[in-house]
């Protein structure tokens, strides 16, 4: 794979015995198709697709956890995108990615291009905000939504923008 996509390649490393490959996001769909179809390690099963938010770099790291039935090996593919960028959907490569990407969109706000049905999946459709981002406090609610749908005042004291460590009201758990 290094030969074919050398321009997109960033690094490959092994941590605790697990193989990771990091690539740039531009040709991600072709890369994933190659990963699925190649003969050396055909990854015909997408175990998981998720994202990690790195607010310091203003980036999302999209992680694909892949498995090859014939070689019985896991491999992780990672790519980084800026918070405002869109990324190509993997739903064309593995149908599994359909709902997994919907969840990433729901929780992080990552927009996928060419996704068959990019809607919120776990949260209600008209919820505002992306909970798993680091700048979304764990106790935050969409106060408007609560008022509109449940008819009550949510009584919340936290505002969007307070991160977990800077919040003075945050109770640090002791060990």
């Amino acid at each position: 794979m290094k030969e074919k996509f050398s321009t997109q390649f960033v690094k490959a490393y092994s941590f605790l015995g697990q193989n990771n490959i990091e690539v740039k996001k531009a040709l991600i769909a072709e890369i994933l198709t190659f990963v699925r179809d190649n003969t050396i390690l055909p990854c015909n099963y997408l175990a998981d697709e998720t994202a990690v938010h790195w607010p310091k770099d203003e980036e999302f790291e999209i992680v694909y956890i892949l498995y090859s039935f014939s070689k019985n090996e896991y491999v992780r593919m990672k790519t980084r995108i800026k918070e405002w960028e869109t990324i190509e959907s993997a739903a064309g490569v593995w149908t599994t990615a359909d709902w997994l990407e919907r969840e990433v969109y729901d929780m992080f706000g990552v927009r996928y291009a060419n996704h068959p049905n990019l809607k919120r999946i776990l949260l209600p459709e008209d919820w505002v905000g992306f909970p798993l981002r680091k700048d979304y406090n764990v106790r935050l609610q969409d106060v408007e939504w609560v008022r509109k749908h449940l008819g009550i005042d949510s009584g919340q004291k936290y505002y969007v923008g307070e991160a977990r460590h800077e919040d003075p009201n945050y109770i640090t758990p002791t060990d």
Partner: protein, 371 residues
């Protein structure tokens, strides 16, 4: 929720099997597009049980997060626990001592039996065989008593700790488990006589919800549903974790990939679990219960993915650690979530009454889907 103009309108009818419904296990809403009695399309609306478990993983320490995970797949809580503890142990580079691993294995296999019994009971009652439900719960009761004697809780057990187990085995544990395991295969035979050759059961489950092996892998289906389609893949054999490599058991595989095959696969899995437990119960080694590690869990910076074979499928944990006592990202790969995607494919072209059978055969737990 019908869009038909008149009662006998030939156009499509969209009906919602709403969130409160006796046959969808948990709060699941399935929007069906019907043409008369045939289902054209099914869209699942989930999220009614979303509690933000993954977010909680970031504000709780590693040790505190374990009970939260029990509430995900509350039927098979022990598997959740096992997966997470093993993931963190891998990250830390410690292994639980052998005694703890044996205890973990026995409890996890008993939990697999529990989960499959619940599946069988609810699947049967959805299709009208009401009595099977009560028989399954009678067996489940025995196992839940064992759990209660061991850790105090029946359902959300928080059984293991990172690094081993906390509780020592109670007196009489081995006898209680042995009595149960000796009787259990006969009980499975009892269920089989009630259902397996029953004409009505066959009519309701054969050729319902067929999914081919290729589609199953493409959709990410795992667990007994995948094995029902003919793919012989079980993480306990493919990537042995805990002490599974020391035991002798088979992986049942189906042929056609319909509801009946998945039913047979799960019945056989119950027997195999009983087999594993009966091998393990005699071999528990002596020794410490917890590995030697610091009280405060601060894993090195990095990420790790580890998955186990839960009763529902591949349960995976992807933990990103930033060196502090709390995870930077705690991702759970829920098997039921990915399995539920295949509902659309399985149900297309079938009758309305089959939708209930297919939901039952996928063995979903909404707690896991929604987290």
């Amino acid at each position: 929720m019908a869009q038909a103009e008149t009662l006998f309108d030939a156009s499509e009818l969209t009906v919602s099997m709403g969130p409160q419904h006796p046959s969808t296990h948990g709060v699941l809403q399935v929007k069906l597009k019907l043409d008369g009695e045939r289902v054209l399309d099914a869209e699942c609306v989930i999220g009614y049980l979303h509690r933000g478990v993954e977010k909680l993983g970031e504000v709780q320490t590693y040790g505190q997060f374990v009970p939260t995970l029990d509430r995900m797949d509350y039927i098979a809580a022990v598997s959740n626990c096992l997966g997470y503890c093993e993931t963190i142990e891998k990250l830390l580079g410690v292994t639980a001592p052998p005694r703890a691993q044996y205890i973990r294995l026995i409890m996890t296999e008993l939990n697999r039996i529990t989960s499959h019994l619940l599946w069988l009971g609810t699947h049967a009652i959805d299709l009208g065989a009401i009595t099977t439900f009560l028989y399954c719960f009678r067996e489940r009761e025995e196992i839940l008593k064992i759990f209660e004697n061991y850790c105090g809780a029946r359902l959300t057990t928080h059984m293991f700790r990172i690094g081993g187990t906390q509780y020592e085995l109670y007196e009489g544990f081995q006898d209680q488990v042995r009595t149960f395991i000796q009787d259990f295969p006969k009980k499975v035979d009892e269920y089989e006589t009630l259902l397996t050759e029953n004409r009505i059961w066959l009519d309701r489950t054969k050729n319902v919800g067929i999914i081919s092996a290729k589609d199953a892998i493409d959709l990410g289906l795992t667990g007994p549903s995948l094995r029902g389609s003919g793919v012989q893949w079980d993480l306990r054999k493919a990537k042995p974790y805990c002490v599974y490599s020391e035991f002798d058991f088979d992986i049942p595989v189906g042929e056609v990939g319909d509801t009946y095959d998945r039913y047979l696969v799960r019945m056989e899995e119950m027997r195999q679990s009983a087999r594993i437990v009966s091998q393990a119960i005699d071999k528990i080694p002596d020794g410490p219960l917890m590995a030697k590690m610091s009280k405060i869990i601060k894993p090195p910076v990095g990420d790790i993915y580890h998955s186990i074979e839960s009763p529902k499928g591949e349960l995976g944990y992807y933990i990103v650690s930033d060196g502090s006592t709390m995870a930077y990202r705690a991702r759970v790969r829920p098997p039921s979530f990915v399995n539920l995607q295949s509902l659309k494919k399985m149900v297309a072209g079938h009758m309305v009454a089959d939708v209930v059978a297919v939901i039952g055969t996928l063995d979903i737990v909404l707690g896991e889907i929604d987290r």
